[in-house]
């Protein structure tokens, strides 16, 4: 696990985040002041009705979408104060993404998809040097997720559950301090979703990365020691008494 940057206990720290969209002549305030700090190693479930702004918060926290106001610290680094290229590097090294629709590259095999963040991180020379080691790590992840026979398959040859497991392996290849997942089981039947979650939490227990999981799934929320509830762009509930501030 990545060493914490100096002076922080939080893998992810979101302060005063506001986000509004201009839709025609109207301004839509989707997030109205969000403060959320997730300590290293803590899994957090983010729940709330559809349209509450959960996905928008995840995108901002994952440094994919710029907030209208507020700051995001990932592993202690103020992500929105960086140059676009430096921010891309933080996304690459410190944030693992899992999406509802897997978002694997269709032309790449399962193994190549898992290695993609490493390919992005390294120059051709570096990659060649680290290739054996990276491949071994990727194959190890895939094997732990029960995909050892599937490494050469394209996403189109995999089931939904298998695809999500590949996406999970991809998110974890860099051993990031925080994993962000938007309804990771939303597109899977409950048994398959259950199996994916089993693997995710197994992995979390050994690696101790922090997680921010958006879910409608009560069973998933129940697995997390902390649940944050959103409504209309605000946090209205946080089971972690001190964590909401």
């Amino acid at each position: 696990m990545s060493a914490p940057a100096s002076g922080t206990r939080h893998a992810l720290e979101v302060r005063g985040i506001a986000k509004s969209f201009q839709v025609g002549s109207e301004t839509l305030d989707v997030l109205r002041g969000i403060d959320l700090a997730i300590p290293y190693g803590q899994p957090v479930a983010l729940v709330g009705s559809s349209g509450a702004g959960k996905s928008t918060l995840l995108h901002i926290a994952g440094l994919l979408e710029r907030p209208s106001a507020g700051s995001v610290r990932v592993d202690g680094v103020d992500g929105w104060n960086l140059s676009p290229d430096e921010r891309a590097k933080v996304r690459n090294r410190k944030v693992g993404f899992v999406f509802q629709f897997y978002h694997l590259l269709p032309e790449l095999s399962a193994l190549e998809n898992v290695l993609l963040p490493a390919m992005i991180a390294h120059s051709p020379g570096e990659y060649r040097a680290a290739r054996a080691q990276l491949t071994e790590a990727a194959l190890g992840l895939l094997a732990r997720f029960g995909l050892q026979a599937r490494t050469k398959h394209r996403p189109s040859q995999l089931s939904g559950g298998e695809r999500q497991r590949v996406a999970l392996a991809r998110a974890l290849i860099h051993d990031p301090p925080i994993l962000i997942a938007d309804e990771p089981t939303g597109n899977l039947d409950s048994a398959t979703g259950e199996r994916v979650l089993e693997l995710l939490f197994d992995e979390q227990r050994t690696r101790h990365f922090a997680m921010l999981l958006v879910t409608h799934d009560a069973k998933l929320a129940a697995r997390c020691p902390r649940t944050v509830t959103m409504r209309d762009g605000r946090i209205v509930g946080d089971t972690n008494g001190s964590g909401a501030a």
Binding site: L64, D85, A88, R91, H103, E107, L116, P117, I120, P124
Partner: protein, 458 residues
């Protein structure tokens, strides 16, 4: 690392990219082939424009003799200076005059077998050229032109007896008491007059008296020693060769030579410098007047036509370069489609930490592979076709049963083709530049894509 990897993967995973590659291959290949053939044609054209011109032509102006008691000036002094130059491979004096030829004893038939010239009508005016055989052979292609007739079994009886001594009397010549003087006649002229080797022809000419201005006509009987064929119709229909002494005799020893043809070892390299040096030396020796127009390169003499050919070459190149635009546009279209198709991939890549520059490079690299594979295979194809165009055309003509290249209408019987390495390099570079320039548009569009917009869409 992912840029190389992904661009190559996208390239190979998508069949449509093949269209772009094939487009570039065909464009580059066709361009190289066509340009090589056009260059070959223009070379031939240039050679045709050059005609019988040797590398340098020296035409001293003050040859006219006002005092008849003084013998005509001989070319030896001039030749000596010219031949002394190490860059000169050979020099030959020529006496050039105009005249008419009439087959002897056929005068009454002349109205039927009159000489018909496409430009001058029915006037049998012929250029009379007096030569020194040995030196002429060094500077001009007369020997080949004679051999073309005498070595071809079909026309051998119209050829000279001895190539080394073309003016030697033909075998079995009737001894009719006429002093023997030989004449070599262009094959077309020979055919027009229905001549045979051994025939006597009357050569008429007029010689002006430089003092009185009066013109007196001269004529002499010559014996046909054989025909020559250069393949260039003006020469074959307009020229008769004589021994220089015999022609001088015909014109009353008015002069003994009119020009000196010079052949250089390397005209491309030395032409201009040698011309200037010879002019200076001959002027110093008072063999020319030195007003700047007596020593010329053949290009000086055909300047505007040469310029036209160079211009044609450039024009053809520029117009054909449009082919590359088409190839570039194909890549543009394919890549644009791919960017739209790959919106989600682009979003995923951004989420995983790819920069905008990285996305841009990835798509530009696809075009680069297109250009690399396309241009290299196009260059190979084009050069191969340019080298093998003749057998290729024969094969194609035989296969489709239509003579694509009609060898009858050209003077050369293989398709001319010359590969210019610089042109090949320019075409390949042009294909690269064109493809990358066109590809830059969709690549920039890909890099500008909002990654979230791309991700939201499923």
């Amino acid at each position: 690392m992912y840029k190389l990897f992904l661009s190559w993967r996208y390239l190979t995973a998508r069949r449509t990219n093949l269209i772009g590659i094939v487009g570039i291959t065909v464009g580059v290949g066709a361009l190289i082939m066509i340009l090589s053939i056009m260059t070959g044609f223009l070379d031939e054209h240039r050679a045709a424009i050059r005609g019988g011109l040797s590398d340098l032509v020296i035409t001293p102006i003050h040859l006219a003799r006002s005092d008849r008691s003084v013998p005509p000036r001989e070319p030896e002094a001039l030749l000596e200076i010219v031949r002394a130059d190490p860059r000169v491979a050979g020099a030959a004096p020529r006496l050039v005059w105009g005249g008419m030829i009439s087959p002897r004893g056929a005068q009454t038939d002349l109205s039927e077998v009159y000489y018909s010239h496409p430009e001058t009508g029915n006037v049998p005016v012929v250029q009379l050229i007096g030569i020194d055989v040995a030196s002429e052979y060094q500077v001009a292609n007369l020997r080949e032109a004679l051999a073309r007739v005498s070595s071809d079994p079909a026309s051998a009886r119209h050829g000279v007896r001895d190539l080394d001594d073309p003016f030697a009397a033909p075998r079995d010549l009737d001894d009719d008491g006429i002093a023997y003087r030989g004449i070599l006649v262009g094959k077309k002229l020979y055919d027009t007059f229905q001549l045979r080797v051994g025939d006597r022809v009357n050569v008429l000419t007029a010689v002006p008296d430089p003092r009185s201005g009066a013109v007196k006509s001269n004529n002499l009987i010559f014996t046909v020693c054989g025909a020559f064929k250069t393949g260039q119709s003006e020469i074959d229909s307009d020229i008769a060769y004589f021994d220089r002494r015999a022609l001088a005799e015909l014109i009353g020893n008015e002069r003994s030579f009119s020009t000196v043809l010079v052949k250089l070892h390397d005209f491309e390299r030395d032409g201009a410098a040698t011309r200037a040096d010879l002019e200076q030396r001959l002027d110093k020796a008072r063999l020319i007047r030195g007003e700047g127009d007596e020593v010329s390169t053949w290009e000086d003499l055909r300047g505007s036509l040469i310029a036209a050919i160079e211009n044609e070459r450039i024009l053809i190149g520029v117009m054909l370069a449009l082919v590359l635009l088409v190839a570039g546009f194909t890549v543009f279209a394919i890549l644009s489609m791919m960017v739209v198709e790959k919106r989600r991939d682009i979003g995923i890549l951004s989420a995983l930490g790819a920069t905008r520059g990285g996305v841009l490079s990835t798509f530009l690299l696809i075009a680069f592979w297109d250009a690399l594979v396309g241009a290299v295979s196009g260059a190979v194809l084009g050069v191969w076709l340019a080298v093998k165009i003749d057998p290729f055309e024969r094969w194609l003509s035989a296969t489709i049963g239509y003579q694509i290249w009609n060898r009858e209408i050209y003077l050369f019987d293989t398709i001319p083709s010359r590969i210019v390495p610089i042109a090949v390099a320019l075409i390949v570079l042009g294909a690269f530049a064109c493809t990358l320039l066109f590809a830059a548009i969709p690549a920039v569009r890909a890099a500008r894509l909002d990654p979230l917009e791309a991700l939201r869409y499923e």
